[in-house]
Symmetry: C2
DNA sequence: CTTTCTGAGTTTACTTTTTCAACTCAGGTG
DNA sequence: CACCTGAGTTGAAAAAGTAAACTCAGAAAG
C-alpha cells in the first residue's frame, strides 16, 4: 500500500528557514525590530563575529529582509545602515511567537525580560496591554489550541510516495 | 549621556533559539507535528544525516521538547519513538508564523504547498477554514500590525549601559 | 544454533561554518 | 602628515555538518 504525503522539502517553512534559519539571522532581525541599524550596533548588542555579521547582513539584504541605506553623521563621511523592509518587519509575529514560547518554558526565574505591548498611539487609545500571538481561523474562531489545527495540501503541493 | 537598554542576551528569544535555533531542529519539530515519530521517518523525510538527527533528537529530548517513548511492532523487538511534549506542541504557533511568512514572501509560484486549517471536530463544527497567526493585545484589540507593538522591560530584565 | 535481516543508531573521514584576532580602508581631525 | 573611527576583510583555528560505512540487538529463516 502506498500513501502520498506532502513533500516536506517543498514547504514554506523550509524556505523561510533557508533565509532566516541560520544562526544569528533571527537575532539580527530582532535587534533591528528593536531599533538597531548600524553595523557596530548589531555587533555590540549581539557579540557576533564581524565577518559573520557582514555575511548575514548581506544574506538578509539579498533576501529582501533588510535594506542598505546611506546615512551621514555631521562631521563624518557617508556610511551605510541596515533597516528592515516590510518583508523583514513581517517577521515580527514569528519573533513574538518565539518570545512567548521562550517566556513560557525557558524563562528567567525572575520572569520575562521583555514584554511586548500594544504601542500607545499618540492620536488614539494609549492601550499598552501585553500582546499575545494567537491562532485564529478564517471563520473567526479565535484562540485555537495547537491541536485544533491540521495541515492540508495547498495549490503548490508536491507529493512523495511512501510505502 | 548614557542610555540603558534591555540586555539583548538575557532574552527569551535568544534562549528559545538556543534550544530550537540549530539547523534542522525546527524542521524536526515540524515533521513531528505532522505525525513523524520514528528515527527513520525523520531521516527519510528530511534527508538529514543520521548522526546529526540522533544528536538533534537528544538535544530536543534534553530540552523537554520531545520525549522518547518505547514501542514494539508485532514480530519485532522494542524500539523507541520520539514524540512532542506539550512544550514541543507549543511551538506550533511559531511554525505557523514562519509558514505564513514563507508563503507570503517566498512561496512557490503555484502557491503555498501547505495550508493550515481549523481541524474539523467530530463532535462539533467541521470548520476547516485556513488558520492565521495574529498579534492580539490583552485588551482585545486583535489583528495588530507589526508596527503597532513595542518592547518594554519585563520583571526579569537586565540592563546594559551604552554611551 | 548459526546466519541473515532490520531499524536505530555510531564511527570515521571529509567539508563547510563559525569564531577570534589582526589587518585594511576611507574619510575627518589635530 | 600622523592618528582616530566605523565598517568591514582576511586568515588560521575550532566547531559543526555531511556521507557512508560500520555496529548492535533482537526476530526469523534455515
Amino acid at each position: 500500500m502506498e500513501t502520498r504525503r506532502i513533500d516536506p522539502v517543498n514547504c514554506s517553512v523550509a524556505r523561510a528557514l533557508s533565509v532566516v534559519g541560520e544562526r544569528w539571522s533571527l537575532l539580527i532581525v530582532r535587534e533591528a525590530l528593536d531599533g538597531a541599524s548600524r553595523f557596530g550596533e548589531f555587533q555590540a548588542r549581539l557579540g557576533i563575529a564581524r565577518n559573520l555579521l557582514a555575511a548575514r547582513l548581506d544574506t538578509l539584504v539579498a533576501a529582501g529582509v533588510m535594506r542598505r541605506v546611506p546615512y551621514q553623521e555631521p562631521g563624518d563621511r557617508q556610511r551605510f545602515a541596515y533597516e528592515l523592509t516590510p518583508q523583514g518587519q513581517a517577521l515580527r509575529p514569528t519573533l513574538v511567537a518565539l518570545l512567548e514560547w521562550g517566556d513560557t518554558y525557558l524563562a528567567d526565574p525572575q520572569g520575562p525580560s521583555v514584554i511586548v505591548r500594544h504601542r500607545p498611539r499618540d492620536d488614539g487609545s494609549p492601550c499598552d496591554e501585553p500582546v499575545r500571538v494567537v491562532l485564529e481561523c478564517g471563520a473567526g474562531h479565535g484562540h485555537l489550541a495547537p491541536e485544533d489545527v491540521c495541515r492540508t495540501p495547498g495549490p503548490g503541493a508536491r507529493f512523495i510516495d511512501a510505502s
